[in-house]
């Protein structure tokens, strides 16, 4: 019976030689502690490395992008000449609309000449060159105003106009007199004019809300481009992704992890899901184009389609992380619930799921972050390009009207020739990150509430 009797020669076992004092570390302890310290140092190094990278990236982004939040404006008095805008003089809106933006050029030139005269600025510039310091957006701004207020024709109205991208660059120090040597878009004389106008207080650099709320503008007028509309596009897409990917992903994981019988079919599904994670995002674009647009006839360039495609792309991420965390809930918890007569479903929803919530939220954070920054699949469903629509007014509009998305917008801007867009691209990235951080914060707070160790 006694196993003990087999211990050698009945002699009382001698205790192992432990190092004498606790305060003195044995060589082995020293070695192990060293390895412990190394291990910990690796951890610290890993975190620090990650955080330093983040810091570098974020400082780069902020450094390059903050300029986008400021813009140079020129305040001008404009005489809305009747003979140019309403030749017939009958204020018929149809007639007024016939004057295209090109027809507003003389008015703008005149306004600039008047300003030069008013402030006593001496310049050799021709009227066209004078107007060259203003954005090309100015004509559209004026035309919109006139169409909205036909009764103002003939009056002199004060406007706040965008300065052209080059002028703005000059004010921000991006453009210098040296750098424009070969530039045919702006001349040193124009810069003299800018200096004079700035001195007169007509031209100033202020915070630019339009960048945050506005829509894209064409390549010819970087100063007018904003990210607001595409931000809404992203928002609607994220809503779709969140509303679909999270419940579907969690549901699928629960089935696979808790209910599915172990057989080839579930193995197939399992392998399939991890494989979907490895499918390049552009392939999801191909799929979206084929299924949602060509087959289901959903509109192109619609955030709804973008959201659906991104949902499919995000699902594997959420499923993989959800499954991993479901797996890590100890079986004793399930037993305890089943033991008091809970059904499997109840055990899962009442106990396992809350315990797995941190992992699920992590998957959601990462999946949504990925979805938020993705451009490639949007390329194929028509959300990348020049989509300068207005801000959607209704939910249906938001989902179905053509729109772009922040990363697509940023990507487009980064490609454009005018360096002024480059600054906006970085500004856009700042906004994207703020968007991301806001989105994450919610999830992180939620996750913290679920975290516990047992």
């Amino acid at each position: 019976m006694t196993d003990l009797s087999q211990s050698p020669a009945g002699a009382a076992p001698q205790p192992r030689k432990h190092g004498g004092s606790l305060l003195e570390k044995t060589p082995r302890t020293k070695k192990r502690n060293a390895s412990e310290a190394r291990f910990k140092a690796y951890g610290i190094a890993a975190i620090t490395a990650g955080l330093i990278m983040l810091l570098i990236l974020v400082t780069t982004i902020v450094g390059k992008g903050t300029g986008a939040f400021q813009q140079t404006f020129v305040t001008l008095k404009v005489e809305l000449l009747e003979e140019k805008l309403d030749k017939k003089g009958n204020r018929d809106i149809e007639d007024i609309k016939k004057v295209t933006t090109f027809g507003y050029a003389p008015i703008i030139k005149a306004a600039m000449e008047a300003a030069v005269a008013e402030y006593g600025i001496e310049t050799s510039l021709k009227p066209k060159e004078l107007a060259g310091i203003l954005s090309k957006d100015v004509a559209a701004q004026l035309r919109d105003y006139v169409i909205a207020n036909p009764d103002q024709i003939g009056q002199t109205v004060e406007f706040r106009f965008l300065a052209s991208g080059r002028v703005d660059g000059y004010m921000k120090g991006r453009v210098s007199r040296d750098s424009i040597e070969n530039d045919k878009n702006i001349s040193p004389a124009q810069l003299d004019l800018v200096d004079a106008l700035a001195a007169a207080g007509v031209l100033e650099k202020t915070f630019n809300l339009d960048f945050i709320t506005g829509a894209d503008a064409s390549d010819a007028r970087p100063e007018a481009a904003g990210i607001g509309v595409s931000m809404l596009g992203s928002l609607f897409m994220m809503l779709v992704v969140l509303a679909l990917a999270l419940p579907i992903g969690v549901a699928a994981s629960i089935y696979l992890e808790e209910f599915a019988p172990q057989n080839w079919l579930t193995d197939l599904i399992e392998v399939n899901i991890s494989n979907l994670a490895a499918v390049p995002s552009i392939v999801f674009g191909i799929l979206g184009l084929a299924v949602f647009i060509n087959y289901m006839h959903l509109p192109t360039s619609a955030p709804l389609v973008g959201g659906l495609v991104l949902t499919l792309m995000t699902l594997p991420t959420i499923i993989i992380s959800t499954r991993a965390s479901l797996k890590s809930v100890p079986p004793s918890i399930r037993d305890a619930a089943l033991g008091v007569g809970a059904s499997k479903m109840q055990a899962v929803f009442h106990h396992v799921l809350p315990l797995a919530a941190p992992g699920i939220l992590t998957g959601t954070i990462i999946g949504l972050a990925q979805a938020l920054g993705e451009t490639a699949p949007l390329l194929l469903i028509g959300m990348v390009g020049f989509i300068a629509s207005n801000a959607p007014e209704t939910l249906a509009d938001g989902l179905l009207a053509p729109n772009s998305a922040m990363p697509a917008q940023i990507y487009e801007w980064a490609k454009r020739a005018d360096p002024a867009f480059y600054e906006r691209a970085w500004g856009g990235i700042i906004i994207l990150l703020i968007f991301l951080v806001t989105m994450n914060t919610l999830a992180v707070i939620l996750r913290r509430r679920f975290e516990r160790r047992w």
Binding site: P331, S332, D335, A336, G339, V340, G341, H350
Partner: protein, 265 residues
């Protein structure tokens, strides 16, 4: 606490609550329970005794199909509860487990508050109409689990932050809160001091009035004290099953005798 007061026990014959017929259990290839036949009576406390690893827990877990959750575990044979085969396809294990409650060998409180631990069962079974009733159930159960005094001031504290014995009693309270018809208790007093043990034994005795209780224990004294019937398991076999008095005083099988007198383990 005198040792063996066996002969005092009245052994009334009660209706059979659970009948196990030729039950065999396998963990993968290993044969853990071998041809066990046993009849557990209503309004009776049945004790399972036997050396560690002989299959008591395994068999106990068969009685409310908790073995379903172990992938590699296969159960053969019939187990009838009130004459119905609990392994029948049509049987809903959930309903079964609501009838046949369980206290596990290792205390496993939910990582929730003490209150929620106990209230969980009544909640999912709809045993309380309102909060007040639920409070009452919780208090009553905790009292029956002999832990009310220790936790009444910290019902919101997590159940996992209790001491070992407290967790064990919490699990007992949790199990009785759902008022099962049969209560399976796997070493419910292993971590309890004598007083708490006595209280739990009192509870068992009280439960016997209306329910059937099966208790696994390593303490011969305890088996003798609380049970009317005793089953002795050895290496997966049910060696002997009979009135507690008889088993302890006059076992038929030599192995039973050896175990009771402390010669085999």
């Amino acid at each position: 606490m005198n040792d063996m007061t066996l002969m005092d026990k009245t052994v009334d014959t009660q209706k059979i609550k659970i009948a196990a017929k030729d039950v065999n259990v396998y963990y993968g290839d290993s044969h853990a329970i071998k041809d066990v036949n046993v009849e557990i009576e209503d309004k009776t406390v049945t004790a399972f005794i036997g050396p560690s690893g002989c299959g008591k827990s395994t068999f106990l877990r068969c009685l409310n199909r908790m073995n379903d959750t172990i992938d590699i575990c296969r159960v053969k044979g019939d187990i009838l509860l009130d004459g119905e085969d609990i392994y029948d396809k049509r049987v809903d294990p959930v309903q079964l487990r609501a009838k046949v409650g369980m206290v596990f060998q290792k205390p496993n409180p939910f990582p929730k508050s003490i209150y929620d631990n106990v209230a969980y069962g009544p909640r999912i079974h709809g045993l309380a109409k309102n909060k007040a009733e639920l409070d009452e159930i919780v208090e009553k159960s905790l009292r029956r689990g002999a832990i009310w005094n220790e936790v009444k001031d910290r019902l919101d504290a997590p159940g996992t932050g209790l001491s070992g014995g407290q967790q064990q009693r919490l699990c007992i309270a949790r199990a009785v809160a759902t008022e099962p018809e049969v209560l399976l208790m796997d070493e419910p007093c292993s971590a309890l001091d004598p007083i708490a043990t006595a209280q739990v034994e009192e509870l068992i005795d009280e439960l016997r009035a209306s329910y059937s209780v099966v208790i696994v224990t390593h303490s011969m004294q305890q088996a003798a004290r609380v049970s009317q019937k005793t089953a002795f398991f050895h290496l997966g076999n049910l060696v002997e099953f009979g009135p507690t008095g008889q088993i302890f005083t006059n076992p038929e099988d030599s192995r039973t005798e050896s175990y009771i007198t402390g010669r085999i383990g």
